[in-house]
Amino acid sequence: MTLIVNEPLNIPLAHESLSAAAPLDATEAAEPLSELAGWGHYPVVQGRERRSEDLERVTRGAVLTRGLGRSYGDSSLPPPGRHVVAGSPLADRLLAFDAATGVVRVEAGFALMNLNRLFFSRGWFTPVTPGTHYVTIGGMVAADVHGKNHHVAGCFGEHVRSVRMRVADGRIIECSDQHERELFRATLGGMGLTGHLLEIEFQMERIASPWIWQESEQVADFESALEALEEAGKQWPYTVLWSDLRAPGAKIGRGLLMKSRWAEPSEAPSAPPRWHRAPPMPFFLPSWALQPWMVTIGGALKFWMHGARRRTGIVHPETSFYPLDVLREWNRVYGRRGFTQYQAVLPGPHSHPRQRRFLETLRARGGNVFLCVIKDCGPEGKGMLSFPKPGVSYALDIPMDRNTQALVDALNDVVIAEGGRIYLAKDALTRAEHFRAMEPRLDAWNAVRRKWDPHGRLKSAQSIRLLGDRA
């Protein structure tokens, strides 16, 4: 049935004969399946991603659209019993750019990496960036991503002016704060479950120079680290804390605090930064290759090699924003067992004992954390189901083993008791009842979804597991 054109010619495509409501699965049988997984490589399902430059065509009747697959868990995977998801990365055109205002409009599959490459030298940058630039702008809206500047800039959604999307009944709708506001706000952070994002228009930020001025310093333990993070947030737009949770005894939580801002032209090198194409990790390491003791030693080295003195200077924006992107597909370092990133926010203040309670739960459970990144969160934004709320966000990389589920359950108990919540874009293991307990906003969001999708056509593996959708 597949007829594929490389240049649009007057030949009807097989898919176009399907009515808008017909499930794509009607044509699934003919297509070979392959492994489909999120960034954590857990869980893994058999599926197929249907990519095309013509996103309007491939989203017709699809249950879900997947971008570059950087969500960690099952957010971008088809629900049980279904196999095909639409893929956006080939729909990657710039549609409009206003050099006076910095408003840009792109197709949903446009990658942040390309936005950076094209606009850095022109003095524009995305107002909010996640920790990797291998994401699509559509994915940034769906997860309503945040960055190291959440305490001043909010989520990406705060800077989105409007989106064009295909809703469940097949219609294509432009929505914004002015038009279909409810749908718009359910879509920011809505994990692609309110409709298929086709185009996004957003406001970029003027930058003083394409270079970053960064200060970094050691922090001796968990409490002083959080205190320093809170203090830094009052002065610096970008703050982040790398925390060593494998340090012994009272030193647990020691780490490095990084504070940065855009360099003034007088501070910056005259040449713009060069963007390198990162080499890929060519294969999965064996699951036993990365051992906890290596991470312990690595963490201690990272801490001690920094030295006690404050370091200041100009750094490459890629080093500052995307340190892990120097190795593409670095997730393969964890091996085929996969890993999960558990990210939760606990309400402030930073000095509240609940922060220590979270840490102690982690320690008591023998939490095998390979990487811990702590950030400030500012006020909630527009997105009805977006992750951040004022407080402290913890992101923990944990290799999958038989204890991981119990660890996540225990951490979620603390998060519920303390009024925090978890980040859907990272999650693979949270239980539905736990999520419901930490998300009083879920019903209101689902009500908007039911209004636009009464038959429950749009769904993902995650929405079945966690959000109350039926397979």
Partner: protein, 246 residues
């Protein structure tokens, strides 16, 4: 460089046009769908193409559209330095065997009409003099008949033969013919097929092609490894080709 591209809205043509735009070339786009052309023109404009990126209708299945389209391009760009053709039709062998209509259209578009288009482009490029370039995407499928791409490969074999001859005949008059033979490249054209080993990405392929256009390299395999893969496949005896599915 002032270039007209037939097929810039998708796949390798899109990647190639972007590289040209980002270095400041002037571009004019030909294709079937006006909305799609307008979106690609905007994309290339924002990326830095010189002047205004114009576009007009041109359909490989409609020969009458060729001459007016090329003339409109030459007028908009005030002359032509390069004509690039990346457009073609593709369908799996089984589909083409079953659907006679589709087969006829594929044979016409990829062979007879592409050559008709190239003839019109050649006349205009030669008349303009200077360092004219005609860059056309054929395929490694035209190097040796193989079961899964028999009919498609036949059109590409004919096209490669023609382009090689153009180089022989007109190189002395200053026309540089660039015959591009992509291997399996992960574009929308082959979405749904399982990528074989050595499958390429559009952007590195486009880089290799642009280098060849600049240097006037007559034959480009992209990714380059396919030159050696096809060398092996061309040397396989008939008895082997009858047995293998590749």
């Amino acid at each position: 460089m002032r270039a007209v591209v037939l097929g810039a809205t998708k796949g390798m043509g899109r990647a190639l046009a972007r590289l040209m735009a980002e270095r400041g070339d002037a571009l004019y786009l030909l294709g079937r769908d006006r909305d799609d052309l307008a979106r690609s023109a905007a994309d290339l404009q924002i990326r830095g193409a010189a002047g205004t990126v114009g576009f007009t209708h041109c359909d490989l299945l409609d020969r009458a559209s060729f001459a007016p389209a090329l003339d409109a391009a030459a007028a908009a760009l005030s002359g032509l330095d390069a004509v690039v053709v990346t457009a073609a039709l593709f369908a799996p062998q089984e589909t083409l065997e079953q659907d006679g209509d589709l087969r006829d259209r594929m044979l016409a578009a990829n062979f007879a009409n592409t050559i008709a288009f190239c003839e019109l482009a050649r006349e205009r490029l030669l008349a303009a003099g200077g360092a004219a370039r005609l860059c056309v995407f054929s395929s490694v499928a035209g190097d040796r008949a193989r079961k899964p791409v028999l009919l498609y490969g036949a059109t590409k074999a004919g096209l490669s033969y023609y382009l090689t001859g153009l180089d022989h005949k007109f190189a002395a008059q200053g026309l540089k013919t660039i015959l591009v033979k992509p291997g399996f490249v992960k574009t929308g054209m082959v979405a749904g097929l399982q990528p074989p080993p050595f499958a390429g990405e559009p952007e590195p392929v486009a880089r290799a092609v642009l280098r060849a256009i600049d240097r006037g390299t007559p034959v480009v395999y992209a990714p380059g490894i396919w030159r050696w893969i096809m060398l092996v496949i061309r040397s396989l005896p008939r008895a082997v080709m009858r047995r293998i599915a590749f």
